[in-house]
Every structure is written in C-alpha cells, then in structure tokens.
Symmetry: none
Subunit: 417 residues, 2 copies
C-alpha cells in the first residue's frame, strides 16, 4: 500500500496541539576560523535544554545529495511525498520564487492556484544566420541578475494574452519563471528549450490533444516575448521548460486530519502554506515577537501551527555567519516562551540547510528536535548540526517528521491488530 | 519523479575532481581472540586522520540483510539503482566472475557487451530411470570447485554454436555462468531448472515470440552440454537460469555528467568499470604504488576516478585476518599521498564487507569516509567498522554515496527555487 494512503487510513482526531518551529536554512557548516558551525556558535540555552529533552536527528529533504529550494523543502516538511504528487518543475519554481511582476509592477499576495500553468524560463540569445534564427546562447551570456529583473518587469508589462493573466517571477542571472492564469489550462507540454545552441528554438508541443490550446498559448507567449525583447543585446528571447498545471493537491486536513495555521512574514511561505490548505494568520509586523504573539492568540483555534523564521536563511545567503547566529540567539527566549504554551508536540526544524560559508542552500541533513511527553529523548547535550546526529531520531527523510509528530500527538490508530 | 531522473536533471559540470578509493571487502568483524575488527587492528594513521576530517558512516549495498557480489556491490557504489536498470541475474553473475574459459583456454579481457546473453548455471546429475531421464541431484553432489573448473574448461572447448561465441565462467562448487555472444540475442527466457529433483529437466521457453530463437539456442547449448558431459560421474548435465541479455546501461557521463577513469589491476573490476563507461587506465603492474602513480598521471584528464584495491578481499576470502590488516597498513602511506594531490572530494569506501572470520562477503554496513572542504565532519576518532557509525553520514544506501560526492563537488543545481 502506498505509504500516504496507509497514514491517511490510520488518522484519528483529538485535541492535541502541534507546532513546527521552522528556522529557514537552519543548518550550517564550520566557520573556517573557529571550526564551529552556526548552531555550535550560538548561545541558545533554551533551545539546548529543549534538545536535551527531545528526540534529535537530521532530516534529508529529497534524498542524498539533493539541495532543495524552498518549495520542495517545505512540502517535504509538511509530509508531502513529492514523488507521489505530480508537481511540475515550473510549479515548484513559482512556489519558491520571492518576487513576482504583474503588469510591470511588483505585486504581493499572488499565490499559485490549481489550474494555473507554471513554467521555468531562461533568457536566451537568438541570432539570425542567413534566413534562419538560431539560439546562439541558451543562457543569454548569463546576464546579471538586475538586468534579468529589468527584463522580467518589461515582459510582465508588455505580454498580453486575452482572457489570461501573466505573472513573471525574476530569478538569478538568466533564470525566471512564468505563470499563466485563466480558463482551460492543462499540462502535458514539451519543453521549448532545444538543450543546445546553434539550432532554432523548439516550439512547445502538446503531448495529448487536450493540451493543444495550452501549447498554442505558450507558443504565443514565446512569440510575443521575442518581439518585446527584440532590441535587447543578449536576452532577446525566452526558452521555456518544466511547463505544467498546478494540480489540486490534498490539504493537510484531507491527508492528516489536522486544521493547520501558518505564521510567516514573507509572501512565499504564506503561498506554500495556503497551497496545502493552511490558514495564514495575520502577524501585523515583521517581528518574531509578533509571530509568537499571533501563535498564542490562535492557540485554541488550530491543531497544527507552522511558524516560520526567515532571517536565518537571509543572513546565510549573504555569507553573514554572525548575523545568522544572532537570529538564533534573539529567538531563543521566544522559543522558550512557546515551549510553555501547552503544546503536546513541538518540532524545531528547518526546510533545508543554508550554511553561511556557502551563501546558499545545501544538501546537508537538517538539524531537528522533536519533543512530546512520550518522545524517546536523550543522547545530545545541545542543539547543533553535529550533536543532533547523536540523538534518537537518526537520519530521516523530511517527509517523515510530520508522521512522527502525529504519532507523538496520538493521532494515528494502530496498523493491524 | 524517479530519483535518478531528478538527479540527472540537476547535474551541472565543473572542474572539480572526485576520487573513490575502494578497498574491496573493506569491512570486517572482531577477531575472536582480540575482539578487534580488521580496521580496529590496523595501524593506519593517515586514514584515521582523514576520517577525523570527513563525514563518516556506513553504506548498505542493497537493503538490509543482502550480501552483494562484486557486480551489484560496485554498481551501487557507482550510483546505479539496480531496481531501475533491468540487469538479469545472469548478467550480474558474469560481471562478478573472476575467470572465464573460451575454447578450452583461460582468457583475459572478456567484457560483457550490450546484447550478450548471460545466464547462471548449476552442474547437475541426470539419471536414467526406465525410459525417462530425471534430475537426481540439482547440484551434482556439490562437486569440488577444481572439478567444476575442469568441467567448465571442457565445456568451453566442446560447445559449438555456429555464428556465436560461448564463454564459460567457473564458480564455486557446482556453480558456473555462461555467456553467448552473437547476433539477435534477446532475453525473456524461462529457467531450465525444475527446482526439485526426481523430475525431468525443463526446456527453456521463450516468454515472447522475439525470444524464440534465443530459447532454441540455449536449449541447443543444454543438449550439447549433456552430450559432452555424458561420461562425467556427477556433473553430467547443466541447469540454466537467470537468463537475460545485457542491456545498454547509461554511462556515468550520461547519468551524472562525469568523465570517469578506473584504476584496477584485476579483470573483473575493469569489466564493471567499462560497463558504466569508464576509461580503464593502464597500471602496468599489480602494485598499489603503480595504481597511485597512474592516478597521479591521469589527474588532469578526468572528473572522477575509481581506484580499486583487491587484496583486502582476497585475504579475507581465505580467512587471513592479518593479511587483510597488512593491506590496509601498506596502503596507508599511499592513501596519504592521494589526499595531497588536490582532489576536491575523496571517498574512502568499499563495494561490500568481507570479514576475514567469515571468509566471504557479508551484509554489514560498509565503512565509509567522505571528505571535501564543505563536508560536515566530526564525531569519529578513527576509521573503523564501528567508529564510522558515530559519524555525520549515518547509514546510507551505497547508491547514495555518488550523489553525496557530487553534491560536495557542487555538481548539482538546486531542486526547485
């Protein structure tokens, strides 16, 4: 039996309260001068005490060696086995995007909906050779990120397909994502990327008859984009791939019987939370203390809370080791406070690691501590990247954390007699 | 999405250099007198120092409890998920065979090619009862290995199928393997082994029409072998099973974008390496020092090197605990030398364990240390069967080592944004 179906069948409801406290990009690597990681450096007595009473371990987000973006990282953490839900790469890209342009403006609160058609894109260089146009550079000479952002803004202003909304998500260098919203969009479209230079761009093709109208729309987008960008020196066309429609994915309530709320200050994380059916609570500011306040106020109304701290990842992305350490330290008393609110189960974890020495996400196991009154704790002295691996949880797939938490919350029946 | 497809999609190329130093049969078990394993006994200061700076753990070759032969052991180590590549048992047997007879002679350099038809065999005893011939012993009274070898040589001399080459691989006791090479061979053949004694042998049957000619050829081989062996007292027929054609499997370059070279002195390992598309470098002798010299000379020419040390396994197969310890010790300074060559990633590992006290391969986790500048190391004081399990790698599937190494070499893009 598929695991997810088994779990669904075993679910029971009760009055228990579960919290996932998520430090974005939580895990790090040793600082070259001290040999200590971010968590080994941080002075976090409350978190350390929590870890000593918890079952600690490391979460592997998507199998050995895979570095997840925020979309795949969070979906795993929420107990979604990505290999069993057909989430096209374009959808994962949009889920993880920080900004979005619409009509030439940066807009807020755009969240992917079932039926949206999402795709990844490269800006590329099209060159006219005789009477043929060929892709001379699939990455438009890896144009600088601000350049790429300007072109995304331009596209979002000029692209126009009657009856459809077009959203453009800037990425790093030549990368971006694009989302089409409107009636009758379906996936099953081939990539428009020829995968090599010196050949003409490939039109998108429908893999089945129902997708033909969607294919025509995407080809229209490509044709328009090529006209709009005609005068750009490098980024004068787009190559689209990973095109797919956002599926209706089951909510956390449908899968695991939990009414869930998200407490996050950045749009991307609110969007991912809504995708899995969470209510997004109003925090009212960007302050962590206000996130904790929102948690306290909504305590009675939900079974499961996801509280997201963004800044650990933010500092790590700019190689600011001390900045990241500081976020852990400033959150330590807030975390202590939530441990006193009466939760039955608390997980302290992350969506992926972002070591400050790398300045980017990584593939390393995510330091995690799971506490309840029935947890098998022990083995660790503190909460750190290395120390948790001595704990009783061991190495687990990220997607296993939620089932473990639900078990600790006594929300599963026995399997068989 | 299938994991291997996801990895393939994430691959990027760069200038990094990766080494897999493979001690065949690396892991052992405690000596009954000292209570210490082979690696705990060995004096290997350079390897211990390496382990202290590395991410250590244990590799499980094919799931809990499975003892792999050399073929499956190496393929997992090279990142091939065997459950996703249809490698018939006969092909795996041939890949792991040490010797091969052709035309009555031991020959060198025979390597399995796509389209070869490979099969496992038992010598068996056929008895005439009235007008019926029945299998009276499916294992020919487990004839001694030298006897079996003699019969393999005989078969290889006498078997003759026009237009096809026949290769016979001696095994232990009644076991052998056989390979047919020639046009139009396809798999999809039933076993010829009736699985019980007292019944007539079963002819091989084609499972689909395209396999009928191959079935007829294998039945012809069985009939000829039974005539050739008519005067043998015990091994007077053959039972063939696990029959299948060697598929074209993707190369390491196709799967992971790495140009790979193998440094090995024994034919079997060269064969497995060529199967996955590695270049096999000329070592010029059986000396480990010359293997290291070959590595040094080819350093600039490849992305990935597989360096194989056979003798650890060889000594363990003859229960020579001290002999195996001695190989680790004599390789320690050579290993130190390779750590100074400028590799970005080095894995010290094995294809399986061969505890000298067992005298055979085993199912135990393979002691492994993975080093790079970005590895999360720590937790171990030395490199040994038990100590590595305290490291940050934990227990992993063998097939996960290459993805981990490629991640450390920064050869994967992020999954999703």
């Amino acid at each position: 039996m598929e695991r997810i179906k088994l779990l669904q069948e075993l679910v029971i409801k009760n009055q228990s309260k579960i919290l996932f406290w998520v430090f974005d990009g939580i895990g790090g690597l040793p600082h070259p001068e001290t040999g200590k990681t971010e968590l080994e450096t941080a002075n976090i007595p409350a978190i350390d005490a929590f870890a000593r009473s918890a079952s600690c371990g490391g979460l592997v987000p998507h199998g050995a060696g895979v570095t997840p973006g925020s979309g795949p990282g969070h979906l795993s953490l929420f107990g979604y086995p990505l290999d069993q839900f057909d989430l096209p790469r374009g959808v994962l890209e949009v889920l993880g995007a920080e900004d979005v342009f619409h009509g030439g403006e940066l807009v807020q609160g755009v969240e992917i909906q079932a039926g949206d058609l999402a795709m990844r894109g490269n800006f590329a260089t099209l060159e006219h050779r005789g009477d043929k146009a060929v892709i001379s550079d699939r990455r438009a000479n890896k144009i600088a990120t601000p350049e790429s952002r300007r072109v995304c803004e331009l596209l979002s202003r000029e692209l126009s397909v009657e009856g459809y909304e077009v959203y453009v998500y800037p990425g790093k260098e030549h990368r971006f994502a694009l989302l089409l919203r409107g009636p009758g969009l379906v996936g099953g479209l081939s990539d428009a990327d020829p995968q090599k230079s010196g050949v003409p761009p490939k039109p998108v093709e429908a893999e089945h008859p129902e997708a033909e109208r969607s294919a025509a729309l995407v080809n229209e987008i490509i044709a328009q984009a090529t006209r709009i960008l005609a005068d750009e020196p490098e980024a004068n066309t787009v190559l689209l791939r990973g095109i797919g429609a956002a599926p209706k994915i089951p909510t956390l309530e449908e899968l695991y019987g939990i009414k869930a709320a998200a407490i996050a200050t950045y749009p991307m994380y609110k969007g991912i939370a809504r995708l899995v059916g969470m209510d997004v609570l109003d925090v009212g500011s960007m302050e962590h203390a206000d996130e904790v306040k929102a948690l306290e106020e909504a305590f009675d109304d939900y079974d499961f809370f996801y509280l997201h701290i963004k800044e650990t990842d933010g500092y790590a992305h700019v190689f600011d080791f001390d900045g990241k350490v500081g976020v852990f330290e400033s959150c330590d008393p807030l975390f202590k406070k939530v441990t006193e609110m009466g939760f039955d189960v608390i997980a302290l974890t992350g969506d992926h690691c972002t070591p400050a020495v790398l300045g980017d996400h990584s593939w390393h196991p995510i330091p995690t501590a799971l506490w309840s009154k029935t947890v098998l704790g022990g083995g660790v002295e503190a909460f750190s990247e290395r120390e948790v691996l001595r704990g009783t949880m061991g190495l687990r797939a990220s997607r296993d954390l939620l089932p473990l938490a639900l078990a600790e919350a006594r929300r599963f029946n026995k399997f068989g007699a």
